[in-house]
């Protein structure tokens, strides 16, 4: 893996003396991204400096007013905090689960291919299908989970209705969906670790646990890093499952920033203000990614 970093560095160094030819490879992607992401983002930023009357589209320049209001908006701060908690629950859960699945799958057993299909499967389940299924499991009255609890004489839990558990319940559902992807990525990474490296350590008398923590995990770190970046961005922009499971409730317990922005812009008709929130959220996610990047470098340069 050190090699990967080395070649990345090499690439960066060489770039100073390349021609323009390489740009042609980028052209199609850049064209579409400029038209459908960069341009909209910039025009939205422009909008965030305005205030609009509902539906009429009449907008008034308000400068930084929306941003100033945001500094005082406790609900928006709360939604950022909720986003953070949600991310902190989802990402470790989905990476941990994926790692467990990958480790279990990384062996030669008869029928392993079958298990592989089963454990990767959540990745192929559409959000709406997953949400419908989870709503059923979590159903406060006729749900399977509460039924299972009642078999052990435990009181029913209002999974999606109790503000103190709802966020965790949604996080579990979202982590479940991400688990399959992480299992795929990590299994591929596990299989690319040379067997003789492990064998040599075993001959040196290393325990399975120390092999895992000293050899396997460090070699998986680039993949874990990739999975965590993707997981964090995914968690911070999760919308569908929240819309389908809790709609930001109960008592704002699952009101993550993207859901708040949607409500503010499209239900409360405050588009300028909503865009200002989205711009701020963008900056927050960017900050996180930069931070992760720093962390990764430290991991790599050891």
């Amino acid at each position: 893996m050190a090699q990967a970093t080395a070649s990345a560095l090499r690439g960066a160094r060489k770039s100073r003396r390349g021609g323009f030819g390489g740009l042609w490879f980028l052209a199609p992607a850049l064209l579409f991204m400029t038209a459908f992401t960069v341009y909209p983002a910039l025009s939205a930023f422009w909008l965030s400096l305005h205030s609009e009357a509902p539906f009429s589209g009449n907008s008034v320049w308000v400068g930084s007013q929306n941003y100033q209001d945001l500094l005082r908006d406790r609900e928006f701060h709360g939604s950022l905090l909720t986003t953070l908690f949600f991310t902190l629950m989802t990402v470790p859960l989905s990476i941990g689960g994926g790692l467990l699945a990958a480790v279990l799958l990384h062996r030669t057993l008869p029928g392993i291919r079958f298990y592989r299909v089963l454990l990767f499967l959540p990745v192929a389940v559409p959000t709406a299908t997953a949400a419908i299924a989870w709503r059923w499991l979590y159903h406060p009255v006729v749900g399977y989970i509460n039924y299972a609890l009642s078999l052990f004489h435990l009181p029913p839990v209002s999974w999606l209705q109790d503000p103190s558990v709802a966020l965790a319940a949604v996080a579990l559902a979202v982590a479940w969906q991400q688990l399959g992807l992480n299992a795929i990525l990590l299994l591929a990474a596990l299989q690319s670790i040379p067997e003789d490296l492990i064998e040599a350590a075993r001959l040196d008398g290393a325990t399975p646990l120390s092999i895992f923590t000293r050899i396997t995990l460090p070699l998986l770190s680039p993949t874990l890093f990739f999975a965590s970046i993707v997981g964090v961005i995914h968690a911070m922009t999760t919308f569908g499952p929240i819309d389908l499971l809790t709609r930001g409730g109960p008592a704002n317990a699952t009101q993550v920033a993207v859901y708040r922005i949607y409500t503010e812009g499209f239900i409360n008709f405050r588009f300028g203000y909503a865009t200002a929130q989205a711009v701020l959220l963008f900056i927050v996610i960017l900050g996180f990614t930069v931070l992760q990047n720093r962390l990764e470098r430290r991991v790599h340069y050891q």
Binding site: G11, L30, A41, I132
Partner: protein
């Protein structure tokens, strides 16, 4: 780390205890992981009157396809599924192409402002979708593409995730492979086609699956840019049953949800072979 270490084909026989433990762990995990899907499948196969029985039964007392018939009759789901399939395939192919090209550019070619451009691409990955919804609607509307496949496909033909994923993979391919290809006089495009893409097959398969699924999941965008049933997608059909609080029919919802799951499941099983093949080809990876 050493490159070009082939995976040993023979392994030591494992003790029985470990076998049993492995199977037990795998089975337990598989049941936990599959529970949501099983619950749904079970509900969809029950006669409508049994859907809400309590205590809940995972294995229906009586099997019935009534919910499927109902779901297919009530909304033009087959047409919607066809539309979604076409759109998802279009977007997936487009993304694979644009991402592979751009990722190769970033990984192996040199040009001015490369680092800045790469950061810019990564930046677009973090743009909340709410920002792009209305401006993109206006673009598509001005191009006269409302109610068309193009309107559903065009905005998603390139994405930062794909570029990021593939670049990461292309960077891990040992330099020697490209050097060899260069000696044979391969152009960069040929290096991409014949060296990088085959070696990054698992990544391409993952990207294809995720793109397919993301497109499959889209709801608000298709809702906004289409009005005629001719162009609508399966998620809209599913909401027809689901969102309506007062009249929703859970048996139909479950059947609809399983119908919407089927194509992605097939796509997954097809691509799963690609992961495996890719992994064994990638055995040379370091």
């Amino acid at each position: 780390m050493n490159a070009s270490q082939p995976l040993p084909q023979t392994r030591k026989r494992r003790p029985w205890g470990e076998w049993i433990l492995s199977y037990a762990g795998l089975t337990l995990l598989a049941v936990l992981v599959l529970m949501p899907v099983l619950v749904l499948l079970s509900a969809s196969l029950k006669p409508p009157g049994d859907v809400f029985e309590y205590p809940p039964r995972l294995i229906p007392r009586e099997f019935s396809l009534e919910n499927y018939q109902g779901a297919l009759e009530k909304a033009p789901l087959t047409r919607y599924l066809f539309n979604t399939l076409l759109v998802a395939l279009g977007v997936t192919l487009g993304q694979l192409l644009t991402s592979a090209l751009a990722a190769f550019g970033f990984a192996r070619l040199n040009f001015p402002a490369k680092r800045a451009l790469f950061l810019g691409v990564l930046g677009t990955y973090m743009v909340p979708w709410e920002l792009t919804l209305i401006p993109n609607y206006l673009t598509i509307s001005n191009l006269g593409l409302l109610d068309s496949y193009w309107g559903l496909v065009l905005p998603f033909l390139a994405g930062a995730f794909g570029i990021f994923l593939l670049r990461q993979n292309f960077l891990q391919i040992p330099e020697e492979y490209f050097d060899a290809a260069k000696m044979d006089g391969a152009t960069p495009l040929q290096q991409l086609r014949f060296v990088a893409m085959p070696l990054a097959r698992p990544a391409l398969a993952s990207l294809a699956l995720l793109t397919f699924l993301n497109t499959w999941n889209q709801y608000l965008w298709p809702l906004i840019v289409t009005s005629a049933p001719t162009w609508r997608t399966a998620q809209i059909g599913l909401r027809f049953f689901l969102v309506d609080q007062e009249g929703s029919n859970y048996g139909f919802v479950a059947a609809g949800a399983i119908l919407v799951l089927a194509p992605t499941l097939i796509a997954f099983i097809v691509l799963e072979r690609a992961f495996v093949r890719g992994i064994s080809v990638g055995g040379v990876k370091g």
